[in-house]
């Protein structure tokens, strides 16, 4: 089982969390939305798999590189 860490590509605020632990996800699914730089930035799932730990919650501030979730595949 490999793991893909989902990192925030920019600093901002978590606007929404679209998945929960245990969800099956496909490549291209939206996992989070982050508000930053006048944009709602969708965080897109890079691999098909199962959502493991989610470490980001709505309203939370994140920095670039912060781990938001882990996808197991």
């Amino acid at each position: 089982m490999a793991q893909e860490k989902i990192e925030s590509p920019l600093p901002g605020k978590i606007l929404s969390v679209k998945v929960k632990a245990g969800d099956k996800v496909a490549e291209g699914d939206e996992l989070f939305s982050i508000e930053a730089m006048k944009m709602e930035n969708p965080i897109i799932c890079p691999v098909a798999g199962t959502v493991g730990d989610i470490s980001a919650a709505v309203g939370q501030s994140v920095k670039s590189g912060d781990i938001l979730a882990v996808i197991e595949y």
Partner: protein, 526 residues
């Protein structure tokens, strides 16, 4: 005295000894999914056009039993031939010949091939597969690296240079592919780095696998040094040939113009609905690019690195163009340090090789914050400004939505050097977003108001109506024309038609400028 017949027979025999490989060694490579060095060259060139040079070159080292060591072709094959009808020089390292190690005469073959390519005005393509420096040769090896680096640097900007990482390339030798224009890395077999895992461990204590340290993931995703990822040798060569098709043979030529059945005036109604109503919402920029260019064919470079930015080649009306754009689905399409680096070097490559540039802009800003400031976003961001201002090729900007503040120049506008600027009716071209502007200009008024929220919203709307649109810029002529999104392809093709001979005029005036001011080059922030 040998007879002519004997000399000819001897020659055939000598040649055979060098070229013929042990069938077991060939089998071993094929089993690993790799071609031999000569098979790569043969697959690369059009059938029947390969001409090898330097086949008989031989090292002269005596120490450490090297006097008895036979290294066919010095572990590197140098050849010229044609790729889709045009001449190219190839340099292919042979891992089966003393692990393709790099020594004095191995290096001399590289230099000879590069100088030969430069003199003829032909692109250079390298196929890297080497165990590294041949330490038995001491200083002779070390100096040979320097000859290689210097000769490829002196050829940079004169002929295109493409590296294919098909095997290992670890140590100082990796500066060779890195300094070429484009780097294609094979997924399972291509490894590159300043040092391999064993050396890293003894020198720093860090334990890391070769796969993690030096593979395509390390460079196409993390370091941003690999432009294209390939499945295997043949895939890498196919991708290399497709890339060469976009390029001129040298800096004095224009790229070949292909014939296309795709109507240059083709209307694209889908573009009229692509921009979401909500300014904070993302959309698919790749779809826009594919709709605009000839036959939907976009050759993307560095797609897994700084994904907020998009660079690559395509054609319009059969002409090669370089596209620079923003991916609103990744960090809002913002320009950060990595995106600035990625776009700037691409712009400069296109300028060196007479390829018109088109920017498709939807960019909120340069990214701000401590991480970016301390990482030097200002000096990295400045590379984009230098690249645009120094460029001599046709420069056309299409502002689709956001073009704010520094990103307005960073993504190419008239003040930094664009020849033509088009804007969609959905464009927001202004110094800063209305919200920020209103809260600065009317700070006191909002604070003192009976209903601060209502006052703030009123002032934001006022600023947006006045400035956050394409008209403010078009009224001053900073934007040449506001166009229907569906006309984008037509307008770009017509712009390229009128700018066809721009580079010649500009280059002449640039040469005058350089002579007048006695300038060597601009001092770009590196």
């Amino acid at each position: 005295m040998a007879t002519t017949k004997e000399l000819i027979e001897q020659y055939i025999e000598n040649r055979k000894k060098i070229v013929e490989m042990d069938p077991k060694a060939i089998e071993k490579r094929h089993a690993a999914g790799q071609l031999t060095a000569r098979e790569r060259v043969e697959y690369f060139f059009d059938p029947g056009t390969t001409t090898e040079i330097g086949l008989f070159v031989k090292h002269r080292t005596r120490n450490f039993g090297m006097d008895k060591k036979v290294i066919p072709s010095e572990g590197v094959i140098t050849a010229y031939g044609k790729v889709n009808g045009r001449h190219v020089v190839a340099i292919s390292e042979d891992y089966t010949a003393m692990a393709g190690t790099f020594g004095e005469y191995h290096g001399k073959k590289f230099v000879r091939a590069i100088d030969f390519a430069k003199a003829n005005g032909w692109p250079i393509v390298g196929m890297n597969d080497s165990g590294g420096a041949r330490l038995q040769e001491g200083m002779d090896t070390l100096e040979a690296y320097g000859w290689l680096f210097r000769s490829q640097i002196l050829a940079s900007g004169i002929v295109p240079q493409i590296a294919m990482l098909m095997g290992p390339c670890l140590g100082g030798q990796a500066y060779h592919p890195i300094m070429q224009d484009f780097l294609i890395q094979c997924k399972k077999t291509g490894f590159m780095g300043i040092a391999g895992p064993a050396f890293v461990k003894t020198q720093t204590g860090e334990e890391i696998t070769l796969e993690e340290l030096s593979s395509w993931r390390a460079h196409a995703v993390k370091s941003g040094q690999t432009h294209v990822v390939a499945e295997d040798d043949k895939d890498a060569i196919d991708r290399c040939k497709a890339l060469l098709d976009f390029l001129p043979s040298n800096n004095k030529e224009k790229p070949p113009r292909l014939s296309t059945k795709d109507d240059p005036d083709r209307a694209i109604p889908e573009l009229n609905t692509v921009i979401p109503d909500k300014a904070t919402q993302a959309y698919d920029m790749y779809k826009v690019i594919r709709l605009v260019v000839d036959d939907g064919y976009f050759y993307e470079l560095m797609k897994d690195y700084a994904r907020n930015s998009i660079i690559g080649f395509a054609r319009l009306g059969g002409r090669t163009i370089g596209i620079v754009s923003n991916n609103t689905q990744w960090a809002g399409g913002v320009i950060d340090i990595n995106a600035a680096d990625k776009m700037s070097r691409f712009i400069r490559f296109c300028d060196l090789f007479n390829i018109p540039l088109i920017s498709l802009t939807d960019c909120p800003a340069y990214l701000i914050g401590s991480q970016q400031d301390w990482g030097g976003i200002l000096r990295h961001g400045a590379k984009l400004l230098y690249a645009w201002a120094d460029a001599t090729v046709p420069l056309i900007s299409v502002i689709m939505r956001k073009s704010y503040a520094g990103a307005h120049y960073g993504m190419l506008d008239k003040s930094i050097g664009a020849d033509l600027v088009f804007a969609w009716p959905t464009a927001r071209i202004t110094i800063v977003g209305a919200e920020t502007a209103a809260s600065v200009i009317f700070a006191k008024e909002i604070k003192d108001a009976a209903d601060p929220k209502a006052t703030r919203e009123k002032r934001i709307q006022e600023y947006a109506d006045l400035y956050e649109n394409p008209y403010h810029s078009a009224e001053r002529g900073y934007t040449d024309e506001i166009i229907m999104p569906s006309d984008t392809r037509k307008m770009l093709n017509r712009a390229l038609d009128i700018l066809e001979n721009k580079d010649r005029d500009i280059i002449n005036s640039k040469i005058e400028y350089i002579k007048k001011h006695d300038r060597k080059y601009s001092n770009i922030n590196l």
